[in-house]
Symmetry: C2
Subunit: 334 residues, 2 copies
């Protein structure tokens, strides 16, 4: 394991200077500190070995352009709470760090972690385009990613809901109600999780012996395109139910269908995904697949603890649950 001495030797400076830089002492110039931290990362130095003693600091990195967490109705609010519920009683100091792409471009993930004395990160809302996603491919400082998977780096873990199980529950529910033609609406397949849900939807159709033609899906970056183009197209094709990749799309579809004169669920059943706090209050209340966000946060902590202890788990999936409300029912046309 890399020591402070190794870093000092590599740079030809004293151990004391390296130590000061690693601890953010004010009498080290910023340039020198940067050089020392980058060398430390390059040599594979992490603060992990010390986490049992003093440095018990974990950060929750939140990509603030994509995910909100400050209010109870925000998606990540409960995830943060669940994580803290386990981490803080275990003696960890948990710091929330909102980031977007810019600071990621300025400082590498591992230099950031070293500079701030964090032993592990829980990353929420990162997209495939975020600069640190590339750093995570090779970093040695543990990172647990919500809804993102890095294959081949044992210092990373992926935490999320079991989307296959979720889609299976949704399709089984609709099939039992008598639906045969089931469509799919989703935002663009540009995130890891939207790709997974799309595949899970079609695999579930196949498993239940239902038609699984790709034309049954409408995916777009623009919500308006989903509503104005894909939804009417699916209705014209005669589907009696639509599963949505996210509750936000499902709740928009509820409104749009009713504006087009369709009764929910008599003319069309709609099933969402996520069980956002809004779901019981849509009109009618939305049937959906729950990912329990408090428990996602707790799973995040279990995964973090495991990586910090050298147990290289890669994937932790939470059981999905079907929450039946009033937006799904037997089709009038069969």
């Amino acid at each position: 394991m890399t020591t402070i001495q190794d870093i000092a030797d590599k740079l030809g400076i004293s151990k004391g200077t390296v130590s000061k830089a690693l601890n953010g002492a004010p009498d080290i110039s910023e340039t020198l500190q940067k050089q020392i931290l980058e060398t430390a990362v390059e040599l594979g130095y992490t603060k992990l070995r010390r986490y049992k003693n003093s440095a018990k600091r974990i950060c929750i990195l939140i990509q603030k352009d994509f995910i909100q967490y400050t209010e109870p109705h925000h998606f990540a609010y409960d995830i943060v709470i669940g994580f803290r519920q386990l981490a803080e009683p275990a003696g960890f100091e948990v710091e929330i760090v909102p980031v977007n792409a810019e600071p990621q471009r300025e400082t590498s993930y591992e230099v950031f972690m070293l500079r701030n004395n964090f032993v592990c990160a829980f990353a929420l809302g990162f997209s495939l385009n975020d600069p640190w996603m590339k750093d995570f491919q090779t970093s040695r400082t543990p990172v647990v990613l919500y809804d993102n998977q890095i294959r081949g780096n044992p210092s990373t873990a992926y935490v999320g809901v079991d989307n296959d199980e979720g889609m299976d529950l949704a399709i089984a529910h609709l099939k039992e109600l008598g639906h045969k033609g089931i469509g799919y609406l989703s935002s663009a397949l540009e995130s890891h999780i939207m790709q997974i849900r799309y595949n899970a939807f079609f695999q579930a159709l196949k498993r239940h012996g239902l038609e699984d033609d790709p034309v049954l899906a409408g995916c777009s970056f623009f919500l308006s395109e989903c509503m104005d183009r894909h939804l009417p197209r699916l209705l014209d094709m005669g589907v009696t139910a639509v599963v949505c990749g996210q509750d936000t799309i499902a709740s928009a579809a509820l409104v749009q269908c009713q504006q087009l004169g369709y009764k929910i669920p008599q003319d069309l059943s709609i099933v969402g995904f996520d069980d956002l706090p809004i779901c019981p209050y849509t009109s009618p209340p939305l049937t959906t697949i729950r990912q329990d966000r408090i428990n996602i946060g707790k799973c995040g902590y279990y995964a973090a603890m495991s990586l910090m202890n050298g147990v290289f788990l890669g994937t932790v999936l939470l059981h999905a649950q079907l929450i039946v409300r009033n937006s799904s029912g037997s089709p009038v046309r069969k």
Copy 2:
């Protein structure tokens, strides 16, 4: 939550009698105890609520017909050690319970757990035909299954290695060495895990742009059929590498190929799966995908702890590792 009073009411007997039966007191007849335990299970009573106090007993259920654990070179030996390494310091009493199909037919899983005062089980080596696999579909007493998955029951979790990642590492390694035609040998696809590895192999071929014709696979319940029929067939087809679903098949293939006059790895590269203790000692030493069994055991404990705390995680996959030894190399024929 079901109480002792509920059970007493249902049977029209006293709370004291129910309590005695649940604690295995000697002055309750076996027939009455059986009736009380079965009613308790039917009403959804588990000892889970009490695990924080006295009843901290977990069992490791080992299907002794399919998996061995008593000697260091046995597959499950390290899994058991890994589990105990975390469970015992946390205050759990861990009991190893070897079972085969017979006791499973006599007593249901949950009655067995209640009678023996276990709050959670870690089940190793169960096949799809084991009677308790059916019980696990609906049981409320947490069970963590190694290499088996129960969808739709939040009291069950699946722990294993990431087979997709493992197959991806194997195929990437062989492709980098210059292989284009890669075959697959496996035992019959009658277990959950053999099905998963088979699919993972073909998905990895596809992802790496290699030929993924199903004729490239030879799977049989009989090792001799794999060796005498499928292996020669793959060699005739001109494959330069073979990935095996298990190390046992890979090590048999090493011997068979050399008897047929093929040099390993010049004429054929062979890659196993599991990294059994034998792998460094085959001739030549076997390149394989490691599932770290100590860490599988530790993941089993994390999953158990999580289920016992009401965090319903469903899947925990350990990172796979490629272990390169001498049975893989660049092909002489390309």
